[in-house]
Symmetry: C2
Subunit: 377 residues, 2 copies
């Protein structure tokens, strides 16, 4: 289901397929629909028009609301949100550690209070697998602890040893669940997650260990959570040589356009990030010349589209002047159009990266854009 077509240095050009959708071209950016909806009012149908190949939803959020039992009763996430392409669900681990309160981490899992209503909840490897099984996603992520930075070496070691034991339990439970006759998605895959905070020795040890467990892909988790960008790149550099070549690699929650270009250069295939949608909701738009803020007075009578180089559904139809007006008038349409543009930009970025890999021009593409796309124009 993952095929490596070509490599340039460590950068990889491949294809991926799973139980839903056709062939995914990698490197790929996964578009985030946390609560089974894209922020800003985009439906799954809108994703088709902006080049989205994989949608990502959040286990923690959907477990709390509407409940994974509800999603299962409705036939799974694909039917619920009317998206027939691939869906990846995260494990809930990251949100348990970033959103909930009153956490107690034990060998069996994590006790925590819902950020919505304070309700006490337990989630361990088996629970996470069962929730993701109910959701019926195509890729389930292993339940892990995402250690806060800075962490001590001792704590990080203890944590990633536990995350390894949790992966073994995830794998066993996942194998059991997909074999059940009433599995929502019997073709569901499982990706393991590398942890180890910012300690290269722990990261490498952990990566070697999880590579021994037969997962369908491997992610690097716990990065882009406050550490300097250079540290993130160093960790990827350290871990990547120990990731199985024949399986897809996913850098979780990353990142800026330049982070993605640098991730690809370091051998990563899958990315996801809330940044393009979040920035869009604040009027901050990506263009091929840098970023702009649509709320700026100077766009009041600007007849140009957000990016004259862009052929997204928004840039084909609307001016900066109109979009600025929508933001100023607090029309919900402002959010939708801005999110559409930024997600299209990210999906187009991946397409340009893939084309550069196909044509053997990735290094010049990297030199032209890496570190540049975030500059304000």
């Amino acid at each position: 289901m993952f095929t490596l077509i070509t490599t340039h240095g460590r950068a990889r050009r491949g294809t991926f397929s799973c139980a839903h959708g056709g062939t995914v071209q990698t490197p790929v950016f996964m578009n985030v629909g946390t609560q089974a909806a894209i922020k800003g009012g985009l439906s799954a149908h809108d994703l088709k028009g902006i080049g989205c190949q994989i949608e990502l939803s959040n286990t923690y959020h959907l477990h709390l609301r509407p409940g994974d039992d509800v999603v299962r009763a409705m036939g799974g996430l694909h039917k619920f949100m009317d998206w027939d392409g691939p869906i990846l669900t995260d494990s809930g681990g990251f949100q348990v550690f970033s959103l909930s309160s009153l956490r107690k981490i034990r060998e069996e899992g994590v006790y925590f209070a819902s950020h919505l209503d304070g309700r006490k909840i337990f989630m361990g490897p088996e629970e996470s697998m069962r929730i993701q099984s109910n959701l019926g996603s195509d890729i389930a992520m292993a339940f892990d602890e995402c250690v806060e930075n800075p962490a001590t070496h001792d704590y990080a070691k203890q944590s990633c040893e536990r995350t390894l034991r949790w992966l073994e339990r995830c794998k066993a439970e996942h194998d059991r669940l997909v074999a059940l006759p009433d599995a929502v998605n019997p073709g569901q895959l499982l990706f393991g997650i590398n942890q180890g905070a910012t300690f290269a020795d722990l990261r490498v040890w952990h990566m070697k260990e999880i590579a021994k467990i037969d997962c369908d892909g491997y992610a690097i988790g716990g990065l882009a959570v406050g550490e300097p960008t250079e540290v993130m790149y160093e960790i990827i550099d350290a871990v990547e040589p120990h990731m199985p070549q024949e399986k897809p690699r996913y850098l979780m929650g990353v990142g800026t356009p330049s982070n993605i270009i640098e991730g690809v250069a370091r051998g990563v295939d899958f990315f996801d990030c809330v940044m393009p949608a979040r920035n869009a909701r604040h009027g901050k738009l990506f263009t091929w010349s840098g970023t702009l803020n649509l709320k700026n007075e100077k766009y009041k009578t600007d007849p140009l589209p957000i990016d004259p180089e862009c052929d997204c559904p928004v840039c084909r139809s609307f001016s900066r002047s109109y979009l600025r007006h929508l933001f100023k008038a607090e029309e919900v349409l402002a959010l939708r159009l801005a999110v559409m543009h930024n997600l299209y930009f990210y999906n187009k970025l991946m397409e340009k990266i893939r084309n550069a890999l196909d044509e053997g021009t990735f290094e010049s593409f990297r030199a032209r854009y890496s570190g540049r796309l975030e500059e304000r124009i």
Copy 2:
């Protein structure tokens, strides 16, 4: 530009055309895009998919923000919001009286303070015509005073005499503006507005007087502002016989589905109302069996669409369960899908009314639905 095809009693089936779009089939509901955007995040493109024939925007709002000078600089409303169908702009009168503060009504016009920033503004007949000329709408509405109910007969008489004088000034200024070589929309039409509060004698006198001024259509304004529904119907009954047969009639700001059916039965051709979009944003949806509130617990695992009889883009794809989840999770997508459904319902209501008129079955349609479509299911 208005052709009466057939009548059934006072009900009229016709066609209408103006400077933009093809032939509009009447009776017609105009979909409201107050600030050049449909509430809930619909773009003008979405209007195509829900059967919208005419879009309506608000002069008062657009004058304040982004400014009609900005819209003119961007080539007019059609280009600004990327809608190539007919656009009607109201005169600003209703909002001056309902939204602004510190109003002083004089013979020359109205002095008022913006509801956005308190800025002092003057608007009279000439200003309203110039603003609507800048917006480039296909139908401009005359500047009128919308008297608050209850009003004294004396005040209502004084007011509708002034509104008549204002219409004469509107007509003169409108004639001048459309003849200018740089008119944004040289094909812009002008509709006069009947006023007179709830006094049938004033309404009839005023209607006869404004009918003498050669307008392209006539509206009944100042209704559905708090008076009992029966009073509204009585006023329409009184005024309608004095409205020119060969010109379109527009009942402003009305109303519920039943109000529209009753308006058609009384000879009205054009309607507009914010209700379908506003109700939708609160989870209140129209169906052919009555209204339902999507936030209701009973829809938690309901796999049916909002209305099994409906073939709108929302009902074709999403369950009540999914929509309820989106409302509960406060996803913007909830608003958009709900607004799409309700506007589609209103446009479909008009289509069904037209079909009933074409087939000579309007009275049985009216008997079946009037007074029923607002019942809660």
